[in-house]
Amino acid sequence: MVGSDKGERKQVFYPGEECWVAEKDNLHLVGSHCKKCGQNYFPAMEICPKCFAEGEMEKIKLSNRGKLYSYSIVYVGPKEFTTPYAVGYVDFPEGVRVLGQLTTVEPGELKLDMNVQSELGRIGVDEQGNEMVSYKFRPL
């Protein structure tokens, strides 16, 4: 599923593998739901920042699809990210917004409020030469 660079680089996961689950080829981000106040979070929280409840969080899977709230194609960035790359905020039906890289930098393929789908992919190469892997969003 993850495209590797000549198959030789070690993969590291950002922010961490616990943040998603792959099911039938569909990637779902994993967040948490506060049983006390109903607020959802990504990534998962331990204590609810909204109502301060402890021990009330349960893991939830976010939908595979969300809506692109806004985006930008980045031409100058930190060296671990290969420019140009695109980032966008995606609004999920569960009421959380997630910032991630998009799978395309073609302006013609991107539109506000379009549907996008989560998948795993390479987001950069870190200082140790490891391939950085995380969720990315593909326009539908």
Binding site: P49, Y69, S70, V74, Y75, Y89, L99, Q101, L112
Partner: protein, 379 residues
């Protein structure tokens, strides 16, 4: 709370000084402010220093070579609001009655970081995915343009005004006017934000001497009174937020207007945190200078020009005067003080009696910004 006045300000010309120590820039600003105030070092009872990347104990590093040690020296970091946070804490020290006179200083040497986008905290969720500040503002811009029929020309006009004002400010980093075409044709940084729409990499320092109002008259016949001093952090919001309404600035400005018993209509001159072109438009609305969605009208009509209805960033603002992060809050204060004293030279706003300075910044996941600090001043 006691009333607090600004009795001295100073800043060095913003630019790139790779050969110069940061502490020496801060020290020069401190000396300029103390000379402007006409105070002795023995009058100063505490120091407050703001910087983002200036390192440990910068306040002590600045003040020790002036022999201004032994007193409490507080070092503040609040991203782009570091300098204004130092100012706010200095205000609190006097307003509370603890001190009669303090010095606040902000300094930064971004040239030491080698250019490019400002390095952000890697532990942050969004930074780990590749978010940089220009991209964050670019996403605000794209959404604002779609929601309110704004164009990239509107963004460019902010820069044209900014460069024009800076050309009248000898302390600004950029001194040449520009055009809409040149702004739009400059290199793309984060679509739709081009290079000229970004605050530059630069170095600088600013400082202010604050004094209780009752003692201020001993030093000056024209104290500038701090009518409001506000510092807030952004509210954590894991869900949807309207990125065209900067909640942290809306909230902070409401508090500031309440504290000063003044409203947006009373403001004669404003220095706002235009880190990127779109920011200035968003802050026209957030600070109440116009209604939602009408910021483009202000820039089209020239209402925020030096001779307009509500002049914004007569100094050139962050985009053209420069934005050495930690220095900005004190540099904004210096501009407002000069404007209210009638000492702003060619960029003087006529009959300016009330001014506002607005700092906000710090990219952090879930918050509009990390910190926002607003000051309202009156002559």
């Amino acid at each position: 709370m006691r009333e607090v006045a600004v009795i001295g300000v100073g800043m060095i010309k913003m630019g790139k000084y790779p050969e110069r120590m940061l502490s020496s820039m801060g020290r020069e600003a401190v000396l300029l402010a103390m000379k402007d105030a006409g105070v002795q070092r023995s009058d100063i009872q505490a120091g407050y220093s703001g910087t983002l990347r200036g390192g440990s104990l910068l306040g002590q590093r600045i003040l020790k070579d002036l022999g201004m040690t032994g007193m409490p020296i507080n070092n503040m970091e609040n991203a782009c609001s570091s300098g204004s946070s130092a100012l706010r804490e200095g205000w609190l020290g006097i307003a509370s009655g603890l001190y009669d006179m303090v010095i606040a200083v902000g300094s930064e040497k971004l040239s030491a970081l080698g250019g490019g986008t400002l390095p952000l905290e890697r532990e942050d969720l969004e930074v780990s995915q590749g978010l940089v500040m220009p991209a964050l503002y670019a996403m605000r811009a794209r959404r604002y343009m779609a929601d309110f029929n704004a164009t990239k020309e509107h963004l460019a006009k902010v820069v044209v005004k900014s460069r024009k004002n800076a050309s009248l400010n000898p302390l600004a980093q950029f001194n040449q006017p520009t055009t809409v075409e040149a702004v739009l044709n400059s290199r793309m940084i984060a679509d739709p934000i081009t290079l000229f729409q970004c605050c530059p990499t630069g170095d600088g320092a600013g400082a202010a001497v604050l004094c209780s109002l009752d003692k201020a008259r001993k030093y000056t016949s024209r104290p500038i009174v701090i009518k409001a001093s506000v510092l807030v952090s952004g509210k954590f919001e894991p869900g949807f937020r309207d990125m065209t309404t900067p909640e942290i600035t809306v909230r902070a400005s409401k508090l500031a207007y309440e504290m000063a018993s003044l409203g947006p209509k009373d403001i004669d001159v404003a220095e706002v945190h235009d880190a990127f072109s779109i920011a200035e438009l968003l802050y026209y609305e957030a600070l109440g200078f116009c209604k939602r969605g009408e910021a483009t009208k202000l820039i089209d009509e020239g209402a925020t020009d030096i001779d307009g209805r509500i002049p914004v960033n007569p100094s050139g603002g962050l985009i053209s005067k420069g934005h050495p992060v930690g220095a900005t809050g004190l540099a904004q204060l210096a501009e407002i003080v000069w404007q209210l004293r009638g000492q702003a030279g060619q960029r003087q706003v006529k009959n300016a009696k009330v001014g506002i300075s607005h700092c906000t910044g710090g990219g952090i996941y879930g918050l509009d910004h990390g910190a926002c600090s607003i000051h309202i001043l009156a002559s």
